[in-house]
């Protein structure tokens, strides 16, 4: 290799927050190149993608609405990832939260009563937790890899959703479209800022960030999770229960994903359809990493990735770019982030040697 990696012997605090910045910058550069290749003017395209969506107050409000599920799920996932528990099935847990919470909302019909929304919220959280409990059980009892089990359950959840909206929950007055009826007024999330779509879920996302920070920085539980993730044998030595921490890691991710699900369907969407999630559960994984698994970082990361969704939608309308472009950018962003993260633990020393050649004895290192 023409360079050598030298361990720093610690974590560079500078690079811990610099690497997301570098990654974002690099992604923008690559985006400009991709735009150019596709024959769109790079400057205008970048403007459409990055600046135009938030150029007015309504845009900023929309940013908050889009970021809410990402931040909510991201906070829950980050807690689990720190413990090295890889919940990849947040997408499925989101769907189950939407189903449970939305189910309660649909059952309420046109009734209004102060109990409806809390019941929906609780049901949503429970739905997500129940779906996450399956991989938790399988991992602690049978040692089954949680990445694969939680992921398989995502496919199952999607199929379950389709079944419900084309079958028993289909809106009889919906002209045969696969969708439920709209939620009644008593089952719709209240708007917090009039004139926008900012709903209760946005508030919950902020509360989640605060609670997440508390757990991470101040509690013994947060400490236990970090130890489990960094040194499982040390966790065992300290008497921390790996099984209980694994359950907690998965359930917290499931709960936040489920909450995000019920807020989405009872908030901005207003009904249950097969496409309630443009991949929030997966994007939230990127959000968690971008935010260095830290609740405040997750908040910032959620805003960045929400922007990429809004930008993708605008680009589709204004520039005629296909929707899939958003997925590419998110993937590239994660790649650059992982690459830049190297700098947190290592220094690069250029040795100026041709790759593949070992130095002969006597030459300078």
């Amino acid at each position: 290799m023409p360079f050598r990696l030298e361990a720093r012997g610690g974590h560079s605090a500078l690079w811990s927050w610099l690497s997301p910045v570098v990654a974002i910058a690099a992604t923008l550069v690559v985006s400009a190149v991709i735009f150019a290749i596709m024959g769109k003017p790079a400057g205008a395209a970048l403007y459409t993608f990055v600046v135009a969506p938030v150029s007015d107050l309504n845009g900023i409000a929309e940013l908050g609405v889009k970021a809410a599920p990402l931040v909510l799920i991201g906070v829950g996932l980050a807690i689990g990832f720190r413990a090295n528990v890889w919940n990849i099935g947040a997408e499925g847990q989101f769907i189950l939260g939407a189903i449970f919470g939305g189910g309660v909302g649909l059952a309420a019909g046109d009734a209004t009563g102060f109990w409806i929304l809390p019941a929906m919220i609780v049901a949503g959280a429970l739905g997500g937790m129940a779906w996450a409990a399956i991989p938790a059980f399988l991992k602690t009892r049978f040692n089954a890899n949680e990445i694969l089990t939680s992921l398989m359950l995502t496919y199952v959840a999607q199929l379950l959703l389709i079944y419900l909206v084309v079958g028993p929950w289909k809106d009889p007055e919906g002209y045969g479209f696969p969708q439920t009826r709209l939620f009644g007024d008593g089952a719709t999330m209240p708007i917090l800022i009039s004139g926008t779509r900012v709903h209760l879920g946005v508030l919950f996302a902020l509360i989640a960030v605060a609670l997440g920070w508390l757990i991470h920085a101040k509690t013994l539980l947060g400490f236990k999770l970090r130890v489990l993730g960094q040194a499982p044998r040390a966790a065992s030595y300290a008497g921390f229960s790996t099984a209980r921490l694994t359950w907690f890691s998965l359930l917290i991710g499931g709960a936040t994903a489920g909450l995000a699900g019920v807020f989405e369907v009872a908030g901005p969407i207003g009904q249950i359809t097969p496409s309630i999630s443009p991949g929030y559960g997966f994007t939230a994984i990127i959000v968690a990493f971008l935010g260095r698994l830290h609740p405040v970082g997750v908040l910032l990361g959620g805003l960045v990735l929400a922007l990429s969704y809004l930008g993708g939608e605008k680009a589709q309308i204004v520039l005629g770019l296909p929707n899939a472009v958003t997925g590419i950018y998110q993937g590239i962003l994660l790649f650059f982030l992982l690459a830049a993260d190297l700098m947190v633990g290592y220094r690069i020393r250029f040795t100026g040697k041709r790759p593949g050649k070992r130095q002969p004895a006597g030459s300078a290192a």
């Binding site: 974590h11 400490f223 130890v227 040194a231 044998r233 040390a234 030595y237 300290a238 229960s241 070992r358």
Partner: protein
Amino acid sequence: MTQEIGAVTPGKRADAPLLAPALLSLDGIVKRFPMTTANDGVSLAIRPGEIHALLGENGAGKSTLVKIIYGVLHPDAGEIRWQGAPVEIANPAAARALGIGMVFQHFSVFEALTVAENIALGISDPRQRRGLKARIAQVSESYGLKLDPGATVHHLSVGERQRVEIVRCLLQSPKLLIMDEPTSVLTPQEIERLFETLRRLASEGCAILYISHKLEEIRTLCDRATIMRQGKVVAECDPKQETARHLAELMIGMSLRPPYHLHEDAAEAAPARLVVSDLSLATDRAFGVDLKSISFTVAAGEVLGIAGIAGNGQNELMAALSGETPAARAEAITLDGVAAGLLGPAERRQRGACFVPEERHGHGAVKDMSLSENALLSAYRRKGLVRHGLVDMPGTVRFASEVIRGFDVKSDGPAAEARSLSGGNLQRFIVGREILQQPGILVVAQPTWGLDAGAAAAIRQALLDLADQGAAVVVISQDLDELIEVADHIAVIAGGQLSPARPVGEVTVAELGLLMGGVAASRPGGADAVPA
């Protein structure tokens, strides 16, 4: 005759009487790393058929030097000559082509592969890999190193695994065989057998470079010794003409003080603090050892040493004592009269028992966390560092500072990451963290392995001091010398079973060696029987 090289110009070889010309000669080797200069003008000469010791503590630079000889590292300056001609050894394959073989301290064996496959991996020349099984059988027969080429390595004992390493080297007809700390994992009888093999090789003209810090072995086996300290050669001598004490002092650079303790007096009627009774545990690890009916008692003020070669159940015993593996019955382990066999580690600490596991990084400490956080790891209950689920950070930092001060831990303070500490300092921290929790019972495993003499002495003294204050201390160690020094009673663990504990004064090294090798003293032939 010892030559103190420090008094002469560094970098020059002392004049040796002319015998055979040197097989390998190193002249002024320098190797620098970012943090340290590992080799600072090292010169060395080995003659054919000579058993040459390379003596020094951890960090003296022996491993680096040897890696340079084997082509794993390249020197920044200096010359290497092989059979008189200057050479550059680019990589291990080149070293092997010259005729240099190396048996590593931490065996380069592959657990999931067979003996023959393991050996094939160490042979670069495809032609030499033909007919391998037959050649392995022949060499192992002829040198008395019994091996089954088709056996999977993970089933082999540590001594057998070392044989794989040695046979792998022998098959390439080496002219120089480098052995890196070969005896730390062998019983005394296996060590004798190894020495016979090495003497035979030397008589056939193969030179041996024997790296060790075990003074008695070097005095028994080696013709010449080069002593290194802090990257430099400090002396060259004939070890058979030196006392072990003098060699040790050359190695450490200062005179040794024997450890001081009171424990001989504490024999009468002290209350039993740790009672293990009929502890049997099936292992759930892949290559683990079942514990079978282990029983022992440790009284207040007593130090019990548990000797044994690695892989005979020490890890399982440690896990059972610390609570990481629950026992089958609560009464199997009693702490100060309380049946604790089913309690987890945190509960056992609340009952006054503390533990120092064998591995520092990843088990006793988390390397990416600060010393304060590492203090929290085991002390959070006994030191009251958590209230209502919230961590008392200032209290934790205070405790970590106490440990650092009290045990002379060289670090950048409580916020320093554990990985920034040297092995010796981290071990001082871990032992200090446990001792400052004022346990009534302390169990430590391999407390001083890999440590320099200064840190090792400090830790042993700390253990003795704790016992003098009335605690019951158990030391599990592979180092018989260490146990004889600190323990009142000694038992041997072999194959998951524990021999009865005997007072240290009444038992001989030979008896211990037999027990460690799994041979009961009462077999016909007794201590003279040669195990198969």
